[in-house]
């Protein structure tokens, strides 16, 4: 069995050792307390580091798409450009705006960042690197990630700016619509794997043909594509960046924000991109499972040497690249095109797809 093969670089031995050591030194509640704090710190750190890395990667890849070089002044190949940007944004003045609804205005960025933080915490990054494993994990992800729309709406409403207002209203319409598609396409896979628990979903996808994407063949593929589109739309990134719509609304709902508050929106945008790709990886592409092909034992052995978290980030990275590629190729949709796409194409296809998947599962027509 796979798990019996040695995983020399995995972190679960380290975490297990840490846990047993803490428990041997102090009562259970103390060990748990220390572990909670540690995990919280690690997550926060990972959150910031991943966001910074993504900002750099996006700028670089965008530049290459556009025949430019991208950031290349701060550090070798501009590698610490986004660190410099972060320092700048931390030092920047938060400009007080006249006639804003102060409480809501300052509260809005927190909604956005907390929601993405909550989702981030529930992702299985690797074997043993899974903070909370709810039995309704998938449901939890969908539920908390939709909190961020409240932040966007509040930001637009409280900014006392007509551009922000229009941006927020667009965002509301867009987010609620695409939430449906994202939810339904994940549901399709829930039907296939028979569980909402992320760990179960991941562990059921051992060999490559067991990955949900291949196991459920056509309906799973359709669900995958729809999830990518809907997820992309949920992150408010081009071609679905109507709430910001630079050429129409200058910066949409965050026009009036500056300094760290703007930084929150900015970080959350990039992290949401990561989270969507992460969920897609977990649900469709076998999560942190390495590429394993039945019968190729030598190959499997080699693949197993690559730790699970690397697999997770690599798969996520491919999906992020796809999202960047799309973003930097297409023009922006108009609001009616956006809603047409959802309500006339994605949603009906998705509903039919869900039924098809249920039929497949009932009759056992998936790859076993």
């Amino acid at each position: 069995m796979l798990l019996e093969i040695s995983h020399p670089l995995e972190l679960f031995k380290l975490t297990a050792w840490l846990d047993s050591m803490l428990r041997s030194l102090m009562p259970d509640w103390g060990a748990l307390l220390i572990e909670f704090v540690l995990i919280g710190l690690v997550l926060l750190l990972a959150y910031a580091v991943i966001a910074l890395a993504l900002i750099y990667i996006e700028r670089k890849i965008t530049a290459f798409f556009q025949c430019r070089l991208g950031p290349n002044r701060v550090g070798k190949y501009g590698i610490i450009q986004s660190v410099a940007d972060m320092v700048k944004i931390l030092l920047k003045e938060i400009i007080p705006i006249d006639h804003v609804d102060k409480i809501l205005f300052y509260l809005a960025p927190f909604f956005v960042i907390v929601s993405s933080m909550l989702t981030f915490g529930a992702l299985p990054f690797g074997n043993g690197l899974h903070v909370v494993d709810f039995n309704i994990g998938l449901f939890y992800l969908i539920a908390v990630s939709s909190l961020s729309i409240i932040g966007v709406l509040l930001a637009g409403w409280s900014s006392n700016n007509k551009y922000s207002m229009i941006g927020a209203m667009r965002s509301g319409a867009q987010f609620i619509s695409y939430e449906l598609s994202a939810g339904l396409s994940l549901m399709t896979i829930a039907v296939l794997s028979g569980s909402l628990q992320l760990s179960t979903i991941v562990e059921s996808q051992t060999y490559v043909y067991h990955w949900n994407l291949f196991r459920g063949h056509i309906p799973a593929l359709i669900a995958f594509v729809i999830y990518l589109i809907a997820g992309h739309a949920e992150t408010n990134r081009g071609p679905f960046d109507l709430p910001e719509a630079e050429s129409e609304l200058t910066a949409g709902y965050h026009t009036e924000y500056s300094g760290l508050q703007f930084g929150f929106f900015y970080l959350a945008e990039y992290l949401n991109m990561f989270i969507i790709a992460g969920i897609a990886t977990t649900v469709f592409l076998g999560g942190w499972n390495p590429v394993q092909i039945e019968g190729w034992n030598g190959f499997n052995e080699v693949m197993n040497w690559i730790p699970s978290y690397v697999w997770f980030f690599a798969k996520t990275g491919v999906l992020i690249f796809l999202s960047l590629w799309v973003r930097w190729t297409f023009p922006r949709l108009r609001i009616d095109q956006l809603l047409n796409l959802e309500w006339k194409y994605l949603l009906p296809i998705n509903l039919v797809n869900l039924v098809v998947m249920a039929v497949l599962v009932v009759f056992g027509l998936y790859i076993k």
């Binding site: 430019r68 081009g238 071609p239 050429s247 129409e248 922006r332 009616d336």
Partner: protein, 551 residues
């Protein structure tokens, strides 16, 4: 050609004019000039606009004048069916305190903004004009700067750093059975949701200001404010010599810099009877066409950017860079190229000019294919362009929208065909016309015109004759007394230069006809009922350049 037939038609027009207004004075100058009294202006205008022989339905230029003892307006008319037929109506008012003329904005819509400009500059008010606010200048400006007796003392109009509230109230003066009545009407309804698009806005192509009232995402009404980059070029020109004025033309529509300058040079050369060497003509036309390609590339790039495809923007800029390099090596300038001078061009072409240009042509053809693959067929882009911003041909003519935009509405209006200047009668190219009237037609027109311009350059670049590139001119160029017109086809359409000379080394009055002003003036009409996002997209498809409007 049918030169004889053309003469016959103009004779008929003369008869029609005299039949309607027997007191009119007709003079055959560079352009047939009809002088009428102010009270008969509307009758003449209506007659000319509605006549069956050759309806003069295109008001190309509307020029305010101050002749010292009287103020007046010149109307340069043309026919949308045949742009080579031109006619000038001249009218004057003696009253300098409260000069009043009847509006023609109900006959030609393009007169709307132009008459507001004349009011701002000369103080002539137009009876029955729907909205007699000053255009370009602020409402609280003291005096009328283009009048010859204007007091230039800066203390009268001090520079104010205070923010001014925009008052959306339009004064107007209307004719009632009981005489003239002055009144003020609000521009917007009381509870309209108004957003300011511009003057600082990422996709306004300069400092344009649209006050837009919205209903949700739908545009209800647009009120155009302009003048944020007004430099008074026409006024400044009245004190400068002709070679000095030349450097302003590059700063009007900076994307058609060379073509604008070509127009002024030709106007001065014609008036001063300066013969241009053949070599200079070839170089000028090649540079004009390169300039046109450069402008269309930027227009394409900006339109893609307006629609949210930022990568396409960079590709357009990349190809444009090749033209800019050719410009820099030829003239020493990239955007403001300062190349044409009275009598020819400033420098000869450089050694590798032909080689670079031919390399560019090959590269550009490849890139055009790439543009089509990347953007022209894209389903999202099609949804945002096809059937959006419908501009009917009658509207285009009435608002004077020429250039690729006018030709996208099925109006054949290429001045290179109708009034072939320089050596355009010797090159073969097709006038690109589409009849869909939407953003997509205008978008495709530009890309097709790039191809046509490449063809023109191909025909010329290997055949540049030997010889001088500049004619010898007098040290001080004086133009004989008279009125001179020159119209050229810039990347945005009909660009006109009007010079009234009193025989001096500087013009008595100089006026530039701005094609962008017509493009902007029709925006409120074609954007009405479209979505806010499409307002931006339509603006991109019209491709106006603001310094051209503000002058």
């Amino acid at each position: 050609m049918n030169f004889q037939a053309g003469r016959l038609i103009m004779e008929k027009i003369k008869e029609i004019i005299l039949a309607a207004v027997p007191e009119a004075i007709l003079e055959d100058k560079q352009v047939l000039t009809v002088t009428v009294e102010a009270d008969q202006l509307r009758l003449l205008a209506k007659t000319l606009h509605d006549n069956k022989e050759l309806p003069f339905d295109f008001l190309s230029q509307l020029i305010g004048m101050d002749w010292g003892d009287s103020l007046g307006v010149l109307y340069l008319l043309s026919s949308s069916a045949d742009l080579s037929k031109q006619l000038l109506i001249k009218t004057a008012v003696k009253d300098r305190q409260n000069p009043l003329l009847y509006t023609v904005s109900d006959i030609w819509e393009t007169a709307n903004l132009n008459e507001r400009e004349v009011y701002a500059f000369f103080g002539i008010r137009f009876i029955n004009h729907p909205d007699m606010r000053r255009f370009i200048l602020n409402d609280d400006w003291h005096g009328f700067p283009f009048r010859k007796d204007y007091d230039e003392d800066p203390a009268i109009n001090p520079l104010s750093l205070e923010s001014k509230e925009i008052v959306d109230v339009a004064p107007r003066i209307i004719e009632t059975p009981n005489g003239l009545k002055e009144e003020k009407v609000p521009v917007f309804d009381k509870d309209d949701y108004i957003i300011n698009i511009g003057p600082q806005h990422p996709s306004m192509h300069g400092v344009m200001h649209f006050r837009t009232s919205l209903e949700g995402e739908i545009v209800k009404k647009i009120d155009v404010h302009s003048g944020y980059i007004h430099r008074g070029i026409e006024k400044l020109s009245e004190k400068l010599t002709y070679p000095q004025i030349l450097h302003f033309t590059d700063r009007l529509d900076y994307l058609s810099a060379n073509i604008n300058r070509h127009a002024l040079c030709m106007c001065v050369e014609k008036a001063a009877s300066i013969e241009i060497p053949e070599r200079a003509e070839y170089i000028r036309v090649i540079m004009d066409e390169l300039n046109r390609i450069e402008s269309h590339l930027l227009a394409w790039a900006c339109m893609c950017n307006d629609l949210g495809a930022i990568t396409a923007f960079i590709y357009g800029m990349r190809e444009r860079e090749m033209i800019l390099d050719i410009f820099e090596k030829t003239s020493g300038g990239r955007l403001i190229i300062n190349y044409n001078v009275v009598g020819g061009v400033m420098f000869d072409i450089y050694k590798d000019f032909q080689k670079d240009t031919k390399a560019f042509i090959i590269h550009m053809r490849e890139s055009l294919k790439e543009y089509h693959r990347l953007f022209s067929g894209n389903v999202i882009a099609l949804g945002r362009m096809v059937g959006i911003g419908i501009m009917k041909k009658e509207d285009a003519v009435s608002y004077g929208v020429t250039g690729p935009a006018g030709r996208g509405s099925g109006w054949s209006c290429d001045l290179r065909k109708y009034l072939p200047y320089s050596i355009y009668d010797r090159v073969e190219f097709t006038e690109v016309i589409r009849t869909e009237c939407d953003s997509y037609a205008r978008y495709l027109n530009r890309l097709d015109e790039i191809e046509e311009s490449l063809k023109i350059i191909e025909q010329l670049v290997d055949n540049i004759p030997e010889g001088d590139f500049q004619a010898k001119t007098k040290a001080i160029i004086k133009i004989p007394e008279g009125q001179y017109f020159q119209r050229v086809e810039t990347a945005r359409g009909d660009f006109g230069v009007f010079i009234e000379s009193h025989g001096d080394k500087n013009p008595y009055r100089l006026k530039f006809r701005s094609p962008s002003m017509a493009l902007v003036s029709i925006m409120p009409l074609i954007c009405k009922g479209e979505k806010l996002s499409d307002l931006i997209g339509i603006g991109g498809s019209m491709d106006y350049v603001i310094p051209d409007i503000d002058r």
